[in-house]
């Protein structure tokens, strides 16, 4: 099956990734851990742009950028070159942003995503390093704000801007691309994606017959999907009514789920880029081999290895590797018990329960899941009870044995079930007669009665089998 893309949708994404795992900002020694701090407390003369202060390149940031480039199958440039992007804005303390221009640190890469019609390649144009501006806090909405406060804690944070080609053909593909990107970045351990503003997206969207609109201010993957969906509908409707889609920048209003025109791009800003005289080029091509050496196993490779090493299904492998913490968790469990059984319990059961509660895998221990699976394998609790144990631990805490004991979940022995079957047959003559008369449904009633007598600790299948055998004799 080939995806036809009937509206000629083209989506390209610019993703700003904040390297908040680094110890210091892009060009100064200020700490990156400002997220819970008072405004303007993580600042210095450099990131405040005070007169006379000079930038110094954070080598670790460059290494992270190269790592990201390699993970995205990019080529690495010979030496760093920074430029100044000149424009006036209150969040920009120097009146220019230090960024990269014609020599981005990495370029010409690709990422494979699960597209509308199977594997789909999204080409990566480039990824460059730059500094984050400060943060404006508008008192009221952006359109009619009474005043604006500025917090420069974010100013000077290292950003990597990853620019894709317009290779995505639907909101879903854009979402998948973002998920994949996040997945890869998590594997690289270059950022903490859970922090606010750690991944910000601008989307370039066009449909056949119109120009592209750039949608800014998208702060989540779900938001990106919604913004693009809205933008496609808006552009299609406009064209259908005989209108024209113009080149413009639009703002995504997350609360209302709509995009609002900010400015037309006709008088495109002249940023007067020129090489930053305060930063001398840094030769990085020599670093590449060592960085490549240290590159961790990436999602696609890990997925293939899990399948071949543990003989688990493609579906389980995908589910496990979509979050590196889950994959690591799984491998610990798989070392202790049958990897295929572990695959089912971790990928299907545990991950489902975690997702339902919006919890990360850190909320559960490998020891606990191993113990729970062993209880099932050793036939001590039923599968249903095991799920109950997992849920209870997630909701109320406790150890597996505590939960099993508290709830009396230990599976009852076979003779107890046999006794319950005999009693049930003796006490429910009418239902027995119905069943023997051909009413299969009556058997369900009888199984229910057995379960009731054993307080649910019997295995339903076993109860059914024992009932059928007893009734036949």
């Amino acid at each position: 099956m080939v995806y036809e893309n009937p509206d000629g949708v083209m989506v390209g994404l610019e993703v700003h990734v904040q390297l908040n795992n680094l110890n210091t900002k892009m060009f100064c020694g200020c700490s990156t851990q400002y997220h819970d701090a008072e405004p303007n407390t993580h600042v210095c003369p450099v990131c405040m742009g005070l007169p006379g202060a000079l930038p110094v390149i954070n080598k670790s940031a460059v290494e992270s950028a190269i790592k990201i480039g390699m993970a995205l199958n990019c080529e690495v440039v010979e030496q760093t070159q920074f430029h100044r992007k000149n424009y006036y804005y209150p969040d920009l303390p120097k009146g220019f942003q230090t960024t990269q221009y014609d020599f981005p640190i990495v370029g010409n890469g690709k990422v494979v995503i699960e597209g509308e019609d199977g594997e789909h390649v999204v080409r990566i144009t480039r990824a460059h390093m730059e500094e984050d501006p400060g943060k404006l806090i508008h008192m009221g909405s952006i359109e009619k704000s009474k005043g604006t406060l500025i917090d420069y804690n974010r100013s000077g944070m290292a950003l990597i801007e990853i620019v894709s080609e317009p290779d995505m053909r639907s909101p879903k593909e854009a979402r998948r691309y973002l998920d994949k990107l996040r997945n890869i970045l998590d594997y690289l351990n270059v950022f903490n994606g859970d922090l606010e503003g750690s991944m910000r997206v601008d989307a370039n969207v066009s449909v056949m017959g119109g120009q592209r609109a750039e949608v800014k201010n998208i702060s989540s993957h779900k938001g990106a999907e919604r913004a693009i969906l809205y933008e496609i509908m808006r552009q299609k409707n406009l064209l259908r009514r005989g209108g024209e889609v113009v080149l413009e920048t639009r703002h995504f209003d997350e609360a209302r789920g709509v995009t609002i025109s900010m400015r037309t791009k006709e008088g495109e800003h002249d940023y007067r880029y020129f090489p930053e005289p305060d930063l001398v080029p840094m030769r990085v091509s020599d670093w590449a081999p060592a960085i490549r050496e240290e590159l961790p196993e990436l999602p696609d490779a890990k997925r293939a290895r899990l399948i071949s090493e543990y003989d688990i299904t493609e579906m389980h492998a995908k589910a496990l590797t979509s979050d590196i913490r889950v994959a690591d968790f799984y491998e610990v469990v798989a070392a202790a018990i049958d990897p295929r059984v572990a695959g089912t319990w971790v990928a299907d059961v545990l991950k489902g329960e975690l997702n339902y509660r919006d919890l990360s895998v850190d909320s559960f221990t490998t020891d606990d899941i191993i113990e729970i699976i062993n209880l099932v394998v050793e036939d001590k609790v039923t599968e249903q009870s095991a799920v109950d144990v997992i849920r209870t631990i997630l909701d109320n805490g406790g150890t597996p044995m505590e939960v099993v004991t508290d709830k009396g979940l230990l599976k009852v022995k076979g003779d107890v079930v046999t006794e319950a079957v005999s009693e049930t047959i003796a006490e429910n003559e009418a239902a027995v007669q119905d069943y023997l008369g051909g009413a299969e449904k009556s058997l369900n009633f009888l199984v229910g009665q057995v379960m009731k007598k054993t307080k649910g600790r019997a295995d339903a299948r076993q109860a059914r089998e024992l009932l059928v055998a007893a009734l036949k004799s």
């Binding site: 007169p51 006379g52 000079l54 110094v56 500025i150």
Partner: protein, 475 residues
């Protein structure tokens, strides 16, 4: 009296009296001064001197007062670049050179007047008004470090720091009859120097003698990790204070004696070159064919960089703020009302030179010329140890003379800008007079060869009397 004391004179006085008394006597001289050399005086100067007396601070410059150009950041002491737009700005940090000076025991006595944001050759564009030339109060002290040169010449400080983007240390040194050094680009950290044109400028010392220049350089020079353009190269300046130029090969570039060079200046410089020959050096003419493009390239690059460097002054975080219905209007008005005319002119021209469609024609072309100018120096230094030329083509001009014609003022930089484009070190030393006004001999050295520069300048000073000339008592 504090007139014309060298560092060793000051040290003797400290031994005889105290650091506190020495600083107090300078403050007294400054108090009585009429040349407008300082923009502000440090409240902490006497306390810093007392610390020296108590033995709490020691070092090679212990108790020696030093005046600092107003574009070098001093913690707790107003730093305004002689511009209204930095009115009230007090840096929360010290520039690298200030840290070094304080650690060496120097006493920061005050900040000196300058052309606004170092843009000028006369100190007339200062928001505080012009500084008067101690030799003739009707004349400019040169610029942009006019205050730093004038206070040394007037005996209001034994040493000072200036900054040199296109001649801003050497020009006022020449006009005021003192010694001024522009180090090799990268030899002194710029951390804390408020940028005008960052790829061109260096902080440099000014003093009454070469010995003091070497002493200050040994304190402020050297690597600083906070300035990425700083270069890790150790130079021992004081070890180069040797009176010996035998065998020294001097190149004399024809192009620096071109049209418009004042005859008195030309004569003084040639007398100096002949003196060197007498002292055992040899000289030969050398051609530096790209000199004629240097001035245009220099101004294009300097203004382009300035247009970006000065973008941060928008009234948001420090300095005065004008009213406006929104941020952009507020920022524009703040800039329009608080930047002086010359600064606005250079920001506009620089913005233009960097604009899309013009960048190739101006900024990028200027960078190409810069490479050619560098090559001129590389060729010259393949054959010569130093080059010599007039620092300025003319002596100090009258106040107001060139205010209405900025281009004529730009032209006076013709002999000083090529070294900033090339990044080579150069020093201006007094070498006589023209019409009773001091003339500066410019000695130019190869990258990081400050040692030869200092040795040459020192030998000249030891074998001539030019350095003993003093401004008369002007009414």
């Amino acid at each position: 009296m504090t007139k014309w004391l060298s560092i060793s004179d000051v040290k003797e006085k400290i031994v005889a009296t105290s650091a506190e008394e020495v600083t107090a006597s300078y403050l007294e001289t400054i108090e009585k001064s009429s040349i407008n050399g300082y923009t502000c005086i440090s409240d902490g100067a006497l306390d810093a001197a007392k610390m020296v007396d108590k033995g709490e601070v020691a070092g090679p410059l212990a108790g020696v007062p030093i005046a600092i150009k107003d574009n070098i950041s001093t913690k707790g002491l107003a730093t305004t670049c002689s511009s209204k737009i930095l009115e009230g700005y007090v840096p929360p940090y010290d520039a690298h050179v200030i840290e070094r000076l304080k650690a060496a025991g120097a006493v920061i006595i005050g900040k000196t007047n300058m052309d606004e944001f170092a843009m000028g050759t006369s100190t007339e564009s200062s928001c505080y008004g012009v500084t008067l030339n101690p030799w003739d109060h009707e004349r400019v002290p040169g610029g942009s470090s006019g205050g730093s040169a004038a206070v040394v010449a007037a005996g209001e400080a034994p040493i000072s720091l200036g900054s040199d983007t296109g001649g801003s240390v050497r020009c006022p040194a020449a006009f005021c009859g003192v010694v001024g050094l522009k180090p090799t680009y990268g030899a002194v950290s710029r951390y804390g120097l408020i940028s005008y044109a960052n790829s061109l400028e260096q902080i440099g010392p000014m003093a009454t003698c070469v010995e003091d220049i070497a002493a200050v350089m040994d304190v402020i020079g050297g690597y600083d990790a906070r300035d990425s353009t700083s270069i890790d190269k150790k130079i021992d300046h004081q070890a180069a204070l040797v009176d010996d130029v035998k065998g020294l090969k001097i190149g004399v570039p024809d192009e620096y004696f071109g049209e418009g060079v004042d005859t008195g200046t030309e004569k003084a410089v040639w007398d100096a070159i002949n003196k060197f020959e007498e002292m055992g050096a040899s000289w030969e003419k050398v051609s530096m064919p790209n000199t004629k493009y240097a001035l245009a390239a220099y101004y294009t690059i300097a203004m382009s960089e300035a247009s970006s460097n000065l973008a941060r002054f928008d009234g948001t975080r420090y300095g005065p703020r004008s009213d406006g219905e929104n941020w952009h209007v507020m920022a524009s008005r703040t800039r329009a009302e608080n930047f002086g005319k010359e600064v606005q002119r250079r920001i506009l021209l620089g913005t233009y030179a960097l604009s899309a469609g013009y960048q190739d024609k101006y900024y990028l072309k200027a960078l190409q010329v810069r490479t050619l100018v560098k090559q001129d120096f590389e060729r010259a230094f393949a054959n010569f140890d130093v080059l010599m030329a007039p620092t300025m083509p003319l002596p100090a001009f009258k106040i107001g003379e060139k205010v209405e014609d900025p281009l004529s003022q730009y032209l006076t930089d013709v002999n000083t800008v090529p070294m900033n484009l090339a990044g080579v070190p150069c020093i201006s030393v007094p070498c006589g007079s023209s019409d009773g006004l001091p003339v500066g001999l410019q000695i130019i050295g190869n990258h990081f060869d400050e040692a030869t520069l200092i040795r040459t300048a020192y030998s000249f000073e030891k074998n001539t009397d030019h350095n003993k000339a003093r401004p008369g008592e002007v009414a």
